[in-house]
Amino acid sequence: MGFKNYCFKKSLWVFHFGGASCNNCDIEILDCLTPRHDLERFGILLVGSIRHADVLLVNGSINMHDKERLIEIYKQAPKPILVVAIGACGCTGGIFAESYAFAGPVDKIIPVNAYIPGCPPKPEAIIAGIVKLVENS
């Protein structure tokens, strides 16, 4: 079990699900992969297909339309999958929490392993969240 878990922690492939986002969190997530922060030194890669993913990053407020798609994406992912909610909208709903189209924060829809709050969170905060996720998984 130790060897398997070690390999899993060392190579987390990330799939990015953007809900009804204002794109600030998306840009900050892409910042983590740029030369200044370079998450590839920890083996973290951004992949194009949910079938290859180990981590599902969810940002933006989840509205009625996004809810079905988020559940479908979560079902399509090969287990074990870790879910990370990024930004105030993903964690709690943020300024959209009272909206008529709002379908609840991410943890009401699918189980969430880590929360990274902020509007938007800095890349350093995202890296700190990922490190905590790796240590506790």
């Binding site: 060897f3 398997k4 878990n5 390999c7 899993f8 060392k10 190579s11 030369p35 370079d38 590839e40 030194r41 083996g43 992949v47 194009g48 297909s49 079938r51 290859h52 180990d54 399509q76 090969p78 287990k79 074990p80």
Partner: protein, 310 residues
């Protein structure tokens, strides 16, 4: 029998080619990172990726496809890559198999991984995988003629011999084939063919990540995807080894020659990586024009030069 199984499974087959290819894959990613002013992954990263996919992740089967074909395609691709690896690496390490005409067998075995990717992609029942499969098919149609002409040029150069052993010994007794005008032209064409065979960036339309989200591999997960990764590692080792054998004098396994052999492989991989990092993805039509017109013209000029003895 036991000897042949050892050749296939341990050295120079599955285990050796896989481990060396994984190291070359790390080299490729590290050079890419350095080109982009990043730090890059640790040395064991390809092994972590492989064992994570093989041991930890779940394998999902397609609902509207054919699960048997879908799962057997990666096995066939690993088989094809390993088999061609054995035929390429045995002469390079100076082990004679007593088999004449292995150059043509290598040429056919090297297409098996691409064909199994296509079969697996079409069996998955995913429309994006079908798009990727059709692109891979067009890519094979365009580069295969050029690659065959390169092999024909090599055969002409060493006096109508179809044996990789005698091709290497001809070069080691005389000069390496790249030391002539026709050799340089053949080297240029074969580097681009290998770039397309490995589906690296100017020719990565079958698995265009940003466009059709991994294309032919979109439905693969878990152990099946681990086998595809293993095939990619092996191909990243044996194709530069093939170029080294046919154009760059092969390996010399004594004294300082070992260092030169390693540097030749690393040099070819470095060239492929730099091409991959400095060019954008082309459209499938542009790739077909590139191979069917320009590369073929280069190789035909090389063939004419060989016929006149240059």
């Amino acid at each position: 029998m036991a000897e042949n199984l050892f050749y296939f499974l341990v050295f120079p087959g599955l285990l050796f080619a896989g481990v060396t290819g994984a190291f070359l894959s790390w080299f490729d990613r590290k050079v890419t990172a350095r080109v982009q002013f990043r730090v890059g992954p640790p040395v064991l990263q390809p092994f972590y990726d492989f064992f994570k996919l093989l041991l930890v992740k779940e394998t999902i089967l397609p609902k509207y496809g054919s699960p048997l074909v879908f799962l057997s395609a990666p096995v066939f691709s690993v088989f094809g890559a390993t088999m061609s690896g054995v035929f390429i690496l045995l002469p390079l390490f100076g082990i004679t198999s007593g088999f004449k005409g292995d150059l043509l067998v290598i040429f056919y075995l090297l297409t098996i991984p691409s064909f199994s990717y296509i079969i697996g992609a079409l069996a998955s029942g995913n429309p994006l995988a079908a798009v990727g499969g059709s692109r891979e098919m067009k890519l094979i149609l365009s580069y295969e003629l050029t690659f065959l002409l390169v092999v024909a040029g090599i055969i002409m150069k060493c006096g109508q011999q179809f044996n990789l052993n005698s091709i290497i010994s001809t070069q080691q007794e005389g000069a390496p084939f790249i030391g002539s005008v026709s050799g340089v032209l053949l080297f240029i064409a074969s580097v681009f063919c290998i770039q397309a065979k490995l589906a690296l960036v100017p020719f990565d339309m079958p698995e265009a990540e940003a466009e059709i989200t991994e294309g032919i591999f979109i439905e693969y997960s878990g152990a099946a995807y681990a086998l595809i990764k293993l095939t990619k590692y092996i191909m990243l080792f044996i194709l530069p080894a093939f170029i080294t054998a046919i154009l760059l004098n092969g390996f010399r396994l004594e004294g300082i020659g070992i260092l030169w052999s390693v540097l030749k492989i690393l040099g070819v991989v470095l060239l492929l990586t730099l091409i991959r990092n400095t060019s954008p993805r082309v459209k499938i039509k542009q790739a077909m024009t590139f191979f069917l017109v320009y590369m073929n013209i280069i190789v035909i000029i090389a063939l004419v030069l060989i016929a006149f003895g240059y």
